[in-house]
């Protein structure tokens, strides 16, 4: 295995963004027919390295060679010409055209094309790579779910028959079934002798998939290990620079009275939801993709209208018709899609953190910059947000740090109820553990917390009690001691409820 030919070698790669050194002296080797995992904390520089491979950025220093020949990528077209494809963390999908056109967008050419042939070809490719049941070739870009968008992005890369493919956190928006399909796809690529780079924060995936692991920390190269010769703890040590003795920080807090109660809540997305959360309690919501978990959160948060039933916060029935109402009731909501639904990417960390509590930082209509800065600083420290300053544009932060900014925004409201939809998606092990510690701390302060997560170990690790959803309804409720992955899955696939 060690003797596979090296398809791509990067040495001494260095890249700064103004004062931020994103990469310094990074080494990477990708071998044909091998999967190399790229790991590191949020902001370690993984995406930046891949963007350099994609020709988006030019490195300040260092050499890239393809098959031993040094090359310079001026733009993404050069990279593609060299047989390299990078699948971005945030896919760009054209909303107004079909999946087929989105997939072949790079190779449509300027002359009129034959739409029928294109659709046929798309169907063939989807079938070949196992996604024919997941996506229709005719579906419009705007109709796609985040998972489907990710798959379109992946298809775009594979149909161009590259020799090297890099994936940047491809599974963070996929459900379990799609992840299985993706792994099969990667195995197939590998069998065809393609070199694969794979970025993920999920340890389980890495051990299942990778042959080799390259670890970055703070932009520096830490080392490359063969998977067969390393283990979970060593990797964590390499990434974080210390031991993570206790991954799930969770000590059940003394429970107070019921803070949030849903009585028979329903609308076009969910049906007959009865749910309670007590002060100091962390309630998990599990279920398959499409079970209505995010929709339920959005209903509580006022994004979707409640059609039947009522939402009670602190013994008071609230008429929640828009998000502002739910915020007034003391509910905070960190949505699943942080870029699309939460962040102002063009604005600073300070602006983003202060957005909801702007009123309280202002005198009459005038916002106090000092109060804003103090708030930003508090949360940068408390959540360990890695940013050169509170003035940094959020769009320039790494994914995990962006998520922490969203959390900061809601913690600043000192909510009674906090709804966290996939709070650790795309977040590294160290930061994950920190976020679990924060959730635990919030519970001890008497906040009622709901955590929606597709990762079962996470739901099991943080929750005092778990609701399982299927087809827009609650199909079961488990206490911490009753819950197990098997029982959750059984309830999530509950046919009676779905019928």
């Amino acid at each position: 295995m060690t003797h596979e030919p090296i398809a791509l070698r990067a040495t001494g790669i260095t890249k700064s963004f103004g004062p931020v050194r994103a990469l310094r002296g990074v080494e990477l080797e990708l071998r044909s027919g091998e999967v190399t995992a790229l790991m590191g904390e949020n902001g370690a520089g993984k995406s930046t390295l891949l963007k350099i491979l994609n020709g988006d950025f030019r490195p300040d220093d260092g050499v890239l060679s393809i098959d031993g020949v040094p090359t310079v990528f001026g733009d993404p077209a050069d990279s593609r010409a060299a047989g390299l494809r990078v699948i971005a963390q945030e896919p760009e999908i054209i909303a107004a055209v079909s999946v087929a056109e989105n997939i072949f967008v790079g190779s449509l050419g300027s002359v009129a094309y034959n739409r029928k042939a294109l659709l046929r070809r798309t169907r063939d490719e989807l079938k070949r790579w196992g996604f024919d049941r997941t996506i229709r070739a005719e579906a419009l870009g705007s109709e796609l779910s985040p998972a489907q968008r990710q798959i379109v992005e992946i298809m775009r890369a594979v149909v161009s028959k590259p020799r090297i493919i890099c994936f940047d956190e491809p599974t963070s928006s996929l459900g379990d079934d799609e992840v299985t399909l993706l792994f099969a796809l990667i195995r197939q690529l590998q069998a065809e002798g393609i070199a694969v780079a794979y970025v993920s924060h999920r340890m389980g995936e890495i051990f299942k998939l990778a042959d080799r692991i390259t670890v970055l920390r703070d932009g520096s190269f830490v080392g490359t290990q063969l998977v067969a010769e390393t283990n979970h703890d060593e990797l964590v040590r390499m990434m974080v620079g210390r031991d993570l003795s206790q991954f799930f920080h969770r000590e059940p807090a003394p429970l107070g009275k019921t803070v949030l109660e849903l009585r028979n809540v329903g609308n076009q997305y969910v049906d007959g939801i009865d749910l309670t959360v007590r002060a100091g309690e962390v309630v998990g919501v599990a279920g398959l993709v499409g079970a209505g978990r995010s929709e339920l959160m959005k209903t509580i948060a006022g994004d979707y209208q409640v059609a039947t039933g009522e939402i009670v916060v602190d013994d008071h029935v609230w008429r929640i018709r828009q998000p502002a109402d739910s915020i007034r009731a003391g509910i905070g909501f960190a949505p699943e899609e942080r870029k699309a639904e939460a962040l102002l990417l063009q604005r600073s960390v300070r602006d983003n953190a202060a957005l909801v509590v702007l009123r309280s930082l202002s005198r009459w209509i005038f916002v106090s910059s000092r109060a804003e800065r103090a708030l930003a600083k508090t949360y940068i420290d408390r959540l360990r947000i890695r940013t050169p300053s509170a003035e940094q544009m959020v769009g320039n932060l790494s994914g995990g740090n962006q998520q922490k900014v969203v959390l900061a925004r809601w913690l600043a409201t000192t909510p009674k109820v906090l709804l966290l939809d996939e709070p650790t998606r795309g977040i590294d092990v160290g930061a994950k553990s920190e976020i679990y510690a924060i959730i635990d701390e919030l519970a001890h302060q008497g906040v009622a917390v709901i955590v929606v997560s597709s990762e079962l170990p996470e739901v099991l690790g943080v929750s005092d009690r778990i609701y399982v959803m299927a087809a827009g309804r609650i199909s079961g409720e488990l206490t911490r001691s009753e819950a197990s992955e098997e029982r959750i899955l059984a309830l999530a696939m509950d046919e009676d409820v779905a019928a």
């Binding site: 700064s16 963004f17 103004g18 004062p19 931020v20 050194r21 310094r24 904390e41 902001g43 988006d56 950025f57 030019r58 300040d60 703070d218 932009g219 620079g241 948060a301 994004d303 828009q322 998000p323 502002a324 915020i327 007034r328 909501f333 949505p335 699309a340 639904e341 939460a342 962040l343 102002l344 990417l345 063009q346 604005r347 602006d351 202060a354 957005l355 909801v356 702007l358 009123r359 202002s362 209509i365 005038f366 916002v367 910059s369 940068i380 420290d381 360990r384 890695r386 940013t387 050169p388 320039n396 925004r409 160290g430």
Partner: protein, 336 residues
């Protein structure tokens, strides 16, 4: 910060110029440089006729009316919208506040009545725009295009296609005067700019405007009442058209339906050249002011040199394209 703090070093390696021009202050600096260049050209070609105090006041006075409208436009564009009706609403407001019964009422009470009427007309048009766009879910481009056409028509009907002379001496006395050697019109412009700057940069209103333009869904989920706020933004734009109408009446001493023709395009050009993002989410009042000044200086330089307005229009077009291209370049450079 913790031991995981990002590594910060001071030696930014980008060239000084592009570093300076990359930031938001830097973008304005680029415009200042352009403005200075125009001044130099003006001074060389037209000498003292150009570089006199009086001529500079002329330039600013010329800029002031479109400038006030552009401030309102800056808010609309920052919020992710567009308002094509600003010019014709201004025209309508000049007509309504010079109707004979309004002027009669004004002369029997106070000239302030004319000001209030102009503001009310602008505000009402903005309110209608706002309701149609925010609550009727009509695309801003279409809704305000309709308002452009309709208010031009209404102004023609009301004025019967005539020019209505302002004969209210109190109004003319107050508005055509000077304060410490500077015309009132310029003072109004300065006040609107200062108010606009504070409103955009230092208030909850400004923050919300930016948030809505930057990410509508995020703004909504953050508890901003997006529809209501958008309505306010269009009302604000309408009000600036009303203020501009008052200034127009003072300058021309007449109200007519043709006032403000194509002002919407001048305002949009000034805003965009100034560095406000046309897709929303980033706005700059100082940039807009500089944009307006650049265009009015350009006009002045051309007029001083007896060049035709057609040549002027070509130069204007070129400036818009070059300015936007430069901005994108620097924006990219600062990102990479």
């Amino acid at each position: 910060m913790s031991t995981h703090a990002a590594d910060i070093h001071d030696g930014d390696t980008r060239p000084v110029l592009s570093r300076m021009l990359g930031g938001s202050a830097g973008r304005s600096l680029g415009l200042v440089i352009a403005l200075v260049a125009l001044f130099i050209v003006g001074t060389i070609t037209a000498g003292d006729r150009f570089a006199s105090f009086d001529n500079i006041l002329t330039i600013i006075r010329f800029a002031s009316i479109i400038g006030v409208i552009s401030i309102g436009m800056t808010f609309v564009i920052t919020a992710g919208g567009i308002d094509l009706s600003v010019g014709s609403v201004m025209g309508l407001a000049t007509v309504v506040s010079t109707l004979s019964w309004v002027q009669n009422f004004a002369s029997s009470s106070s000239w302030i009545v004319m000001v209030v009427v102009a503001l009310a007309v602008g505000g009402a048009a903005g309110l209608i725009n706002g309701i149609v766009i925010a609550y009727g879910n009509v695309v801003a481009f279409i809704a305000t295009l309709a308002m452009l056409v309709a208010s031009r028509g209404l102004a023609e009907v009301l004025a019967n296609r005539t020019t209505q002379i302002v004969n209210e001496p109190g109004f003319l006395g107050a508005m055509r005067g000077e304060l410490i050697g500077v015309p009132i019109l310029i003072w109004i412009f300065v006040l609107v700019v200062i108010a606009g700057w504070f409103l955009l940069n230092r208030t909850t209103f400004g923050r919300r405007t930016v948030a809505i333009g930057g990410n509508l869904e995020a703004a909504r989920l953050a508890g901003i009442k997006v529809k209501r706020h958008l309505m306010y933004v269009y009302i604000l734009a309408g009000l600036t058209s009303g203020i501009a109408a008052v200034m127009m009446l003072a300058r021309t001493t007449a109200g007519t339906s043709t006032h403000g023709t194509l002002y919407e395009l001048d305002a949009i050009a000034a805003v965009v050249v100034g560095g406000t993002l046309l897709i929303g989410g980033r706005g700059t009042i100082m940039g807009t002011v500089l944009g307006v000044l650049i265009f009015s200086t350009l006009t002045n330089v051309f007029t001083q040199n007896n060049l035709s307005t057609s040549v002027q229009a070509i130069a204007k077009g070129a400036i818009i394209v070059v300015a936007v291209m430069l901005q994108q370049r620097f924006a990219n450079r600062s990102r990479k």
